[in-house]
């Protein structure tokens, strides 16, 4: 088994290669510390090529493509999810889609606290989900949500439980979460981006269970949705 994993749900471009024993190598480019415009479109394909070359992996050897589906940056997810689908389609291998919030929470599973994973959603909002550590992983105990930091703070206050907050959403609004006081710990920049090791591990487990998705059915997790039409009556005038 050989897996290629991609996550572009934040400013970071992440690529990982893994086999049944674990991670072979990974490439990470960019973070919220880099104020230049993100370069998902320019950097993802070269990162995949370089990672494969250094790990002596040919694309034709891949068994499946894993991809972080967000929620997160639209510009990044478009590139990452499209690349995963195109590669899978052309190599005739399945896709293993995994929400990027899950990838943030998974590395923090060795705790008794709840884990709240956050991704910056712009417009002073964050994407978030809450997880409870269970043997071997984390179990999501909320929906995937979109809202102001104050909404997550209220949710955590209501749960009255020790919490670890991670992801670039909490780093963007440190003051909002400072209100929570002593029951909350904030994981720093090391836990700002969805974990590529988690992507490799979770995807390998799903590969074993044959939890696949046909490339055509893979969609980014967009929580900001609207069915409305744009009112274009002026255009006809």
């Amino acid at each position: 088994m050989l897996l290629l994993g991609i996550d572009t749900s934040t400013r970071r471009v992440g690529v990982v290669l893994a086999n049944e024993h674990g991670m072979l190598g990974r490439v990470e480019l960019g973070s919220s510390a880099d104020r230049r415009p993100p370069r998902h479109a320019e950097n993802l394909a070269p990162a995949i090529a370089w990672c494969c070359e250094k790990c002596d992996v040919k694309l034709s050897q891949l068994s499946a493509i894993a991809v972080g589906t967000g929620p997160g940056m639209f510009t990044g997810l478009r590139v990452g999810v499209t690349t995963a689908k195109v590669l899978a389609q052309s190599l005739r291998v399945p896709v293993i889609p995994i929400p990027s919030l899950d990838l943030l929470a998974y590395p923090l599973r060795f705790t008794h606290a709840l884990v709240a994973a956050t991704i910056d959603a712009r417009r002073h909002e964050v994407y978030w989900a809450i997880y409870q550590p269970v043997p071997g992983g984390v179990q999501r105990v909320s929906e995937y949500e979109l809202g102001g930091p104050d909404e997550l703070v209220a949710e955590l206050q209501a749960r009255a439980h020790d919490v670890i907050l991670c992801g670039d959403g909490v780093l963007r609004f440190p003051d909002a979460f400072a209100l929570l006081g002593g029951r909350v710990a904030i994981a720093g920049p090391a836990h700002a981006s969805p974990s590529l090791t988690a992507l490799a591990e979770l995807a390998a487990a799903r590969f074993e269970r044959e939890e696949f998705c046909p490339p055509s059915e893979v969609l980014p997790l967009y929580l900001r949705q609207s069915d409305a039409e744009i009112e274009w009556e002026r255009k006809g005038a």
Partner: protein
């Protein structure tokens, strides 16, 4: 501020005058009928921001990005049908590190960040005449609004 121009080069000059005041994170919403000069105006803005590549209409590509001293995203929503497609563009992400100019943005104004410059181009009585109205909204413009209006008034006087 309301100005009148004759010919594309004058419209472009007004765009350049606005461009001098723009920085990363600024949104410019452009309204005006087909042929009113929205892209011409953007050419002037981009030139003032140091873009050296030729600026072409984004009607087909929807988004054109230019990497100069101040990165620019030139957006045209004319071909979009659904509000979802507007969300999917990720305009807020572009605003992290670019000046973003949106042609036909006035059609979806309530869905865009309220801090913005609104530019309305209207075709005048003569075919080469344009009335251009420029209004800067939001606290981010409080420190720049007077200087912008002064600069634009100087153009009007010439």
């Amino acid at each position: 501020m309301m100005l009148t121009t004759r010919g594309g080069h004058e419209t472009e000059s007004v765009g350049a005058a606005l461009g001098e005041f723009l920085r990363e994170g600024d949104l410019v919403v452009l309204g005006g009928d087909l042929g009113a000069g929205k892209t011409t105006f953007v050419k002037g803005v981009a030139r003032a921001l140091g873009v050296r590549d030729p600026v072409t209409s984004p009607t087909f590509t929807i988004v054109q990005e230019y990497d100069g001293p101040v990165p620019v995203a030139h957006v045209d929503i004319y071909r979009l049908q659904r509000v979802q497609e507007l969300h999917d563009l990720g305009l807020e992400e572009m605003l992290d590190d670019r000046v973003v100019l949106v042609e036909w943005g006035d059609v979806v104004a309530p869905l865009l960040p309220s801090e913005r410059v609104e530019v309305q181009l209207t075709i005048g009585d003569a075919p080469d005449m344009r009335a251009i109205e420029i209004v800067a909204h939001g606290p981010g413009w409080d420190a720049r609004r007077d200087a912008l209006d002064t600069a634009l008034a100087a153009i009007r006087g010439t």
